[in-house]
Each structure stands twice: as C-alpha cells, then as structure tokens.
C-alpha cells in the first residue's frame, strides 16, 4: 500500500456562534488531528452534532478552521491542486432538473476539462453500471432519488478522483440502493481510490471501510481498523456516547 498522505489534518479547531447576535461561540472541532494514507478507506461515525459534516467541509475547503492545518495530497484544502484530485458526493444529490442523463454528465465533464484535468478511463465500466438503467432522454426531474444518487456517483467518478468524499451516501435509499453503494465503494477500494465517508450506519462503515473513526463533540474517541473492532463494540461505544449526551 502506498504511504502517500491523502488527508492530513493537524490540531484543527473550529467554533461557531450560537446566534449571530451573540459573541459567545461553541466549539465544533476540538484540536482534531487525522491522517489518511492514499488508497485507504475511512468511515467517520458519530452522533448528530459530533462535527462530522463540519470536518468534511473543512477538508473540502468550504469551512475555514480557526486554527490548525489541513492538507489534501500535501496541498492546502480548498486550493486548486487539492480540488483537482478529489470528488464529492453529497447527501442530497445535485439536481439540474432540466438536463437529461447525458447532458448532465457532459456538463460536468466539460467543467473538468475547463480545469485542465486529464481523465483515466479505468472507471468507465463502473460508470456504465451506475447509469445503465437510467433513461437517456428524460429530464432529471422525472428520476427517483436512487437514480439521482447513482447519476451523481457517476458524475463524481467521471472526474477520476484519487480521493472521494461521500456524505451519507446511502441515506434515503432502498435496501438494494444501499447494497449497490456498498458494492461500488468496495470496487473503488479495489481500484486503489482513497475513500472518506461520513455515515450514521455502523453496518455501512464496517462493510465499506478499512478504518473507522468515531467523533464525539469534535474529538476523536475511537480510531481503529475495521478488522480490530466488532459491530457490538461499536454499538456499545455509541450507547456510551448517548448516555454522556443525555
């Protein structure tokens, strides 16, 4: 396995104001440090408000940390060099409801070429698997949520990213849709892509990742390889966090 660092976060702190009118801030990320090597698949678990989304946004360059350092493949988060090497699948699919399947993919393909990115065709089969049964001519407004999510996954893959961020990718999908997402993520792992996934599902984390990190109140409470931790241990950990919260 390559030892290049895909994600490097050191002592990241972020706090938000409780109310725009008040100066008082509450911390969301507390000195969070994390390092992910290339080709590793990492799942971030945690209760609501643990800081998972804020941390992902900071890695994507959408939120600026108060202090600390974040690098993506040794480039600052949010920089053009970092942006070129990553793909992002959000929880809510990106919808351009007036475009058909192919127009949608063509539009984003042209955005990639605008950015000067060269594409490797190794993922073409996977993309075809994803979009195979999505109607070619119909506009996106007529698609089901599963179709939209799969089309968005194809959008992410056509960029051929080395690092893929997935935010709750299976939320709202039926069991077959969820299984499909797990299958695609595992195929991407085989192809050596680095995967960073935010999820609430312990099963998804254990099935689709090499490593699992549990966040609570902006801190890492567990960071283990999936093979070293069982489902029941993770469940007990969550129940423990829940009792702290209540």
């Amino acid at each position: 396995m390559s030892s290049e660092i895909a994600i490097f976060a050191s002592q990241v702190k972020k706090s938000f104001r409780k109310n725009p009118r008040h100066k008082e801030k509450f911390p969301v990320l507390n000195n969070l440090s994390l390092s992910v090597t290339k080709s590793q698949s990492i799942a971030i678990l945690g209760p609501n408000g643990a800081g998972k989304t804020t941390f992902m946004k900071a890695l994507l360059g959408l939120v600026f940390p108060d202090s600390g350092q974040i690098q993506i493949f040794s480039h600052p988060a949010g920089s053009q060099m970092a942006r070129q090497r990553l793909g992002f699948l959000s929880e809510l699919p990106l919808i351009l409801d007036f475009l058909s399947r192919q127009s949608f993919l063509n539009h984003f393909a042209s955005l990639i070429s605008d950015a000067g990115h060269s594409k490797d065709n190794t993922l073409d089969t996977l993309i075809q698997d994803l979009i195979g049964n999505i109607p070619i001519d119909l506009p996106m407004s007529s698609y089901s949520k599963g179709m939209m999510q799969r089309l968005n996954f194809a959008r992410v893959l056509q960029k051929d990213p080395e690092l893929i961020f997935l935010d709750e990718p299976a939320t709202g999908l039926d069991p077959i849709g969820q299984l499909n997402i797990v299958r695609i993520v595992n195929r991407l792992r085989e192809l050596g892509r680095t995967i960073y996934v935010n999820t609430h599902s312990i099963d998804f984390a254990l099935e689709a990742a090499d490593r699992v990190v549990v966040l609570h109140q902006g801190r890492i409470v567990t960071d283990q390889m999936c093979k070293d931790i069982s489902r029941s241990e993770l469940e007990n950990l969550f129940l423990g966090l829940d009792s702290i919260r209540s």
Binding site: G61, L62, G78, L86, F88, L94, L96, F108, L111
Partner: protein, 254 residues
C-alpha cells in the same frame, strides 16, 4: 470564443424555466400602447406617445428581468446544494462568480435584444419610422440593467434574502431620485448639509444618468462622448459590484 460552461448553464436554465416567455407579455403591452396612442390628435403625436411609452416599458421589462435572473442565481445554487459541489470540486470561488455573472449578462443581453427588436418592429410597422437615437437609448437601458443586476448579485450574497431584495429596490429608487436631489438640497438652506448629502449620493450608483429618452424626445442633442462616458461609468460600477461579490465569496463559509 468558447463560453464557460457555468455561463451557458445560466442561459440554459433560464430557457428551461421559460423565463424568456416574458416577451409574450411584452407584445401584449405594446399592442395596448399602440391602441392607447391612437387617441392622440395627429400621427406625430401618436408616434411620440408610443415612443415615450415604449421606451418606459422596455426600461421596466429589461430592469425587472435583469433583477429576477441575477437575484436567485447564487441563492438557488446554495439552497439546492449545488454550490458546495461546484466550489469543492470544480471551480474556484471567484471563477464561479465571474462565470455565473457572465451567464447572467448574456441572458440579460439576449432578452434585451429581443425586447428592442419587438419595440423597433412595432414602431416601424405602425408608424413607418425609426429614429436613429433609439439605438442609443437601447444601449443606455442595457447598461443600466447590467449595473442593477450586478448590484442585485452583490446584495444577494452579502445580505439576508429579505434585506437583499429591499436593498436592491432601495438602491434603484434612490439612484433615480438624483434628479430631484439638488432641488431638495436648495430647499435645505444649509450649504454644509447640502454638500454632505450630495457627496453621500455620489457614493451610490446614479441611475438617472442612463435616462436619455426624455432628452431625445425633446430634441436635445446627446454628444458622443457622453455615451462613451456612460459606458465607462456603468463598467466601473459593474466591476465594483463583481469585485465585491468575489471578495465576499472568498471569505464566506458554506
């Protein structure tokens, strides 16, 4: 020249949402205007009445269109979860703003051209005349639309939705109030207060400078350098608003 894809997307989205359907309303308004002008005593009065009304309607349609296209442009991307994906994976923040603004500019220009063609055609068909100065007025209205659109874009990202709408409207109204401001300043009787008010006014875009219709209708000549100055003035304000939008977006968290 290859247009950026984000700019084309703005145009495609407007076409898909039938935004350009406003031309049907415009044709109806032109018909009403022609029938209204028939009440005037002679053909010259009818023509001038139509020109006056036509230019006012064109001005209102163009400006309203410019605002409605630009105002939700970034807000919708934010609401519909597109902005995070565009900015995290595809384009830089400034590039996003500039490409979107270019798309809005093209859409506004396309709409304006269609409105101008409809106005000119109506005038030519009904009154068999077409004064040359109409092109100058068309250009001035287009410039004003772009200034207002860029102001709407800037305010839409910097303020809450309600405040942004109110502020854009306020900027438009106060920008057209400059015609009367000297009268009110004279009524004040306090030269210092008057000077302060006039200087404060010069910090805001003055939309009254684009109003060339009345000058032409009253047979006043508008020198060529004024049109050039007007273009530079509008470009300056557009640049200020776009730069402000880019700077704000660079600092904003999503």
């Amino acid at each position: 020249m290859k247009l950026p894809k984000l700019s084309l997307l703005v145009l495609k989205e407007c076409i898909a949402k039938n935004v350009l359907g406003i031309h049907l309303f415009y044709i109806i308004v032109l018909f009403l205007l022609i029938s209204f002008a028939q009440g005037a005593p002679d053909v010259f009065a009818r023509r001038d009445l139509f020109l006056d009304g036509g230019m006012t309607v064109l001005f209102l349609f163009s400006l309203f269109f410019a605002m409605t296209v630009t105002f939700p442009m970034i807000l919708l991307d934010l609401k519909e979860n597109r902005l995070m994906i565009f900015l995290s994976t595809y384009v830089s923040r400034s590039r996003y703003v500039l490409h979107k603004a270019l798309g809005a500019g093209i859409t506004i220009a396309l709409n304006h051209i269609i409105l101008c063609i409809l106005t000119s055609l109506s005038l030519y068909i009904v009154y068999e005349t077409h004064p040359q100065w109409m092109f100058t007025v068309y250009w001035a209205i287009f410039l004003e639309s772009l200034v207002l659109a860029s102001a709407a874009l800037f305010l839409s990202v910097t303020l809450s939705r309600f405040m942004a709408m109110m502020s854009t409207g306020f900027l438009f109204l106060i920008g057209h109030f400059t015609y009367y401001i000297e009268y009110y300043v004279n009524q004040l009787g306090n030269p210092l207060a008057g000077k302060i008010i006039l200087n404060l006014y010069s910090l805001l875009p003055n939309f009254e400078v684009f109003g060339l219709k009345n000058a032409f209708l009253t047979a006043k000549t508008v020198p060529d350098f004024y049109i050039l100055w007007l273009s530079v003035y509008a470009s300056g304000w557009i640049l200020v608003f776009l730069l402000g939008t880019c700077l704000w977006m660079e600092k904003k968290e999503f």
